[in-house]
């Protein structure tokens, strides 16, 4: 992967050069070079993530509209690429900030303010990682429901039993997607699909309700007050591009890394259903003029567009596969509603095609969700490690400042 190549030579160059005895002037020059390189790499990585939109005019007349590009923005594989890019950025950032660093540097303004702010963002990002992992679990659940429907409609001609079976699963699926506020209230959603009314007939009915009422509110993984969108908003606060003479020092990579973290988390929250995403900010506080940010801002704008268009309250997340699943699910439920054995050949043909697509979506989820969770966990680990190291650096710095040699 090109990114790792960059990483290898970049780190190699830094470590060799840092260890050379050089004059102060050389040091500063070389540090500027490193910062330049860092910015360029960030820019390149995000440029790699740009994918032509599906509704863009095809590059060639032979472009297959029906063959979805598996790497579309916010598809599972794109998200995984995003996380890979994030890990590379993170590694480079650590090299720039920590390696061979005299602790006194990080204690000076403006870093003495900027770095603790970054640490605060990292902690929020850790919580978001956990919430997103949990969100992936609920995507898995949707996948399983979709698989029921898909496998029910494997055999043709479609029979009444199959279709009703698929419809039952899809209805549960759609209500799950519809109600992502309570991410894990599968219970509540399943309940909707019951054939039984809640008219509490007899003792049996009445006694059931209190149990369920208890169960309903307890299936969330985070406290009611925690909100993904609020976390993102807090991370965006204070995110201000360094200006003036700050714009050439270490404040720049700190700002860049902060922006990258915010972008990555924001994209993940937009894509994957996790607790309390309503009100997710679509405005990104990174100015257009910054050269390294062009691609990132481009992606952000596209995703924000998508968000505004598709995200009704409590939707299933912008992940491409989930969006497809919702569309296909709705279409198939419609088909099921109007179904009578034997089905009209044309309608059945269309439905069969949709089932095929659904199978493909499920396959991609099946392949990609577990690795995605593992990657998120890796991101979590890395951020914890970096945070520990940076905190140590800060500690050394404050001690050196407070305790000049006796």
């Amino acid at each position: 992967m090109p990114a790792t190549e960059y990483q290898g030579s970049f780190l190699g160059r830094i470590s060799i050069r840092r260890n050379q005895v050089s004059s102060l002037e050389n040091n500063q020059e070389q540090e500027l070079e490193d910062l330049e390189l860092f910015q360029r790499h960030i820019s390149d990585r995000f440029a790699d993530l740009i994918v032509p939109a599906p509704d863009d005019p095809p590059a060639s007349p032979h472009h297959h509209h029906h063959q979805p590009n598996p790497d579309n923005v916010l598809s599972i594989s794109w998200l995984r690429k995003l996380l890979d890019a994030f890990l590379c950025c993170e590694a480079e950032f650590k090299a720039v900030l920590i390696m061979g660093r005299d602790p006194a540097h990080v204690a000076k303004p403006p870093l003495d303010r900027l770095i603790p702010e970054l640490m605060d963002r990292v902690v929020r990002a850790l919580d978001l990682c956990n919430a997103i992992t949990h969100g992936v679990d609920s995507v898995m659940q949707c996948q399983r429901l979709a698989e029921i429907a898909a496998s029910a409609l494997e055999r043709r001609p479609f029979g009444e039993g199959q279709v009703k079976r698929a419809k039952r699963a899809l209805t549960t699926l759609l209500s799950l997607m519809d109600d992502k506020e309570n991410t894990n209230s599968s219970f509540k959603a399943a309940e909707r699909n019951w054939s039984f009314g809640r008219r509490g007939s007899g003792a049996a009915g009445a006694n059931k309700d209190p149990h369920m009422a208890n169960f309903r509110c307890l299936t969330m993984s985070v406290s009611k007050n925690w909100s993904a969108s609020k976390q993102i908003q807090a991370m965006m606060g204070n995110l201000a591009a360094p200006r003036g003479n700050e714009a050439s020092g270490l404040a720049v990579p700190v700002y860049i890394m902060s922006s990258v973290i915010v972008f990555a988390m924001w994209a993940l929250v937009a894509a994957i259903p996790c607790h309390e995403r309503s009100g997710l900010s679509t405005h990104f506080p990174v100015p257009r003029q910054l050269s390294w940010a062009q691609s990132m801002i481009g992606l952000q704008e596209r995703i924000a567009e998508d968000w505004k268009k598709k995200e009704k309250k409590g939707s299933a997340g912008l992940m491409e596969e989930m969006q497809k699943m919702e569309k296909l699910g709705t279409a198939l439920v419609d088909f099921a509603d109007g179904f009578q054995f034997p089905a009209e050949a044309e309608k059945e043909e269309v439905a069969a095609g949709q089932v095929c697509e659904l199978v493909e979506v499920c396959r991609r989820l099946d392949e990609g969700l577990l690795p995605l969770q593992q990657q998120i966990r890796e991101v979590f680990h890395r951020m914890v490690r970096s945070r520990t190291e940076i905190l140590e650096l800060l500690d050394q710095a404050s001690k050196a400042a407070a305790n000049p040699v006796a």
Binding site: D127, P157, G197, P342
Partner: protein, 603 residues
């Protein structure tokens, strides 16, 4: 049992189609007559085993009937599960856990011996509760090892199993797993609630004050034991009871479906603690957490043994190693703080510095945790090099301490850097003598503290203790030199005798000077050093005796030799103010820590 014919089978199935009739919705088959249940199940079996041509109209009807039956069975399955799914009676379990061995000192008195043969006590839930409550049979040793509880009564399990069999045979496994997971997940969540497992984010925990966090850690440890050993273990057993033998690892799938989320949520708390900022005060609770998790690890491996649970086992191990890292980091941080503690204020009276108390208390506690820390601390402290010439770090040669464990080395090192720091602080005293009283006091305090704790004593070792005691003596000697040499200098013979051609005798003027100087010096020292404090009574008396031993004989002999010369002159009382006894009494005022009254003892 009669065979049910195809047509009647279909009729039965259709009669119970809840999408079709109000009547079908009103009742649950499995809550009613057993004969109805049997009938229905036989009907299901009948249509399932029929061979059908799916493309025919009749065939389609049979397929449709199968779907209706499966949908119905799914609902029945759900209903049975819900009816019998109440959260585990966790209060009783939690209460009992306070009696089990717990590292924190406060529970030591109540600990139950691990080997104690106590008969299992059956805890009856109060009568009058709805009969749906699971009767849990629990023993006092519950949370020390895995103890499964029957979450669902046997008859219900039979029913669930007979439904599961048929669903799986009809290729409706996914639906079965789905419905099982969703109901049990809620039940587990409710149990979590009862166990007091809070849903705190990492951010929340970073912001809390540590005292509150300690309380939560304690609670978590108790809850986690119940969670893993009772709750999760029982869920696993339930899956086995219902799904065993019905297919490949279906019970594992259902189990993971149920507990994966809650398990991760449980561990999130421990993980959040492991990444909190490293501060010395946090060490011991983090060690408690580490030990509790270590203790749980074998049971975690047993409960989560299936392949799909690997990520949970891995996460638990990761968190454990993070906690270990945190402990190591905190110890490092502690040593750093001791070395760099920057306060310059002097302790009045040269007594024990708060840093000394803090450090000795801390390492005493460390010695209490030595079993765990010996496992965790594997590297020697990074000391300054003997040749580094870095004045900000003491150096230390560990060559003589080869057999000591790394932990013991760290403790010794901590004392070394404590004394190093104290030495720096002592330079802030204006008076040159109090420096040594200060150092003497503090080093002696260290010695006493080490001697007072058998674990600490054993780790520090007699060799180093002897070294420290030697330092105490050294400081005492240096003090005496600093204060008393010049005082005693007044009582020397040289310079008093004048040898001239006509008179060889004592210079009266010089003698008078001597007495005056001596008196002034002694009074000054007396006034000052009475306000100094040597807290340890024995040390105090020893030093006074040592002073007297040098002072009194010198004064007596001086007085004896030269008093005549003074008394033969004018105003002898201006010069000979004190008898030896007066001095002896005055010495008793030294190091008491309060000023003497203005009416000092005089002749």
């Amino acid at each position: 049992m009669e065979e049910v014919g195809m047509e009647s089978a279909e009729k039965i199935i259709l009669r119970w189609d809840s999408t079709a009739s109000e009547e079908a919705r009103d009742r649950m088959i499995f809550e009613g007559d057993r004969s109805e249940v049997d009938l229905y199940l036989r009907a299901v079996d009948q249509i399932q085993h029929a061979t059908i041509d799916s493309s025919s109209c009749a065939g389609d009807k049979v397929n449709a009937a199968i779907q209706i039956a499966m949908a119905r069975l799914e609902d029945e399955f759900r209903n049975i599960l819900i009816t019998h799914s109440s959260p585990l009676e966790t209060e009783s379990l939690l209460e009992l856990t306070t009696l089990s061995t717990d590292n924190s000192a406060e529970f030591e008195e109540c600990s139950v011996e691990a080997d104690e043969e106590e008969p299992d006590r059956v805890l009856e839930l109060p009568e009058g509760e709805s009969s749906r409550r699971a009767r849990s049979s629990v023993s006092y040793k519950t949370t020390k090892s895995i103890r499964e509880v029957d979450l669902i009564p046997a008859e219900a399990i039979d029913d669930l199993r007979s439904i599961a069999e048929r669903m799986i045979a009809a290729d409706y496994l996914r639906e079965c797993v789905q419905v099982y997971g969703s109901v049990r997940k809620s039940a587990v969540d409710a149990s979590f609630w009862n166990l007091g497992i809070e849903k705190l984010s990492i951010g929340d925990i970073q912001r809390l004050d540590w005292d509150s966090v300690e309380v939560k850690i304690r609670r978590w440890i108790r809850a986690a034991r119940v969670c893993i050993r009772v709750l999760f273990a029982s869920e696993k057993k339930l899956c086995e009871q219902i799904f065993y033998g019905l297919g490949t690892a279906i019970d594992d799938t259902c189990f993971m479906e149920t507990v994966k989320g809650p398990a991760i949520q449980l561990f999130n708390f421990a993980e959040a603690i492991s990444i909190s900022k490293r501060e010395p005060e946090k060490l011991f609770k983090i060690l408690d957490l580490h030990d509790a998790l270590l203790d749980l690890l074998p049971d975690i491996d047993v409960v989560f043994v299936c392949k799909s649970a690997e990520s949970i086992r891995v996460q638990a191990a990761e968190i454990l190693s993070r906690l270990a890292e945190a402990a190591r980091g905190i110890l490092s941080e502690f040593e750093n703080k001791v070395l760099r503690e920057p306060s310059r204020g002097t302790v009045p009276g040269g007594t024990i510095h708060p840093l000394t108390r803090y450090v000795m208390n801390y390492i005493s506690l460390i010695s209490d945790y030595k079993q765990t820390l010996n496992e965790l601390i594997v590297s020697k402290p990074s000391t300054g090099s003997r040749y580094s010439g870095d004045p900000t770090t003491p150096d230390m040669d560990f060559a003589e301490l080869e057999e000591k464990s790394p932990l013991a080395l760290h403790l010794i090192w901590t004392i070394v850097i404590l004394l190093f720091n104290l030495d720096i602080k002592s330079k802030n005293y204006v008076d040159g003598s109090i420096v040594h009283i200060f150092m003497m006091n503090n080093i002696y305090y260290v010695v006493q503290k080490v001697k007072g704790s058998p674990e600490l004593h054993e780790m520090i070792g007699d060799d180093y203790l002897r070294k420290l005691s030697g330092k105490v003596r050294q400081e005492a000697i240096t003090y005496q030199r600093a204060t008393w040499v010049r005082v005693l200098y007044c009582l020397r013979d040289e310079g008093l005798h004048v040898s001239g051609s006509f008179s060889s005798g004592v210079s009266k003027s010089a003698l008078r000077e001597r007495f005056k100087t001596f008196n002034a010096m002694f009074e000054d020292v007396h006034k000052t050093q009475a306000t100094w404090l040597i807290p340890d009574i024995q040390l105090r008396e020893e030093l006074r005796i040592s002073i007297s031993e040098k002072l009194l004989p010198a004064y007596r002999s001086f007085l004896g030799r030269y008093r005549n010369h003074i008394e033969s002159g004018r105003h002898p009382e201006n010069y000979i103010k004190y008898l030896a006894d007066d001095l002896e009494n005055a010495v008793l005022d030294f190091f008491e820590g309060h000023p003497v009254s203005q009416t000092s003892r005089r002749r």
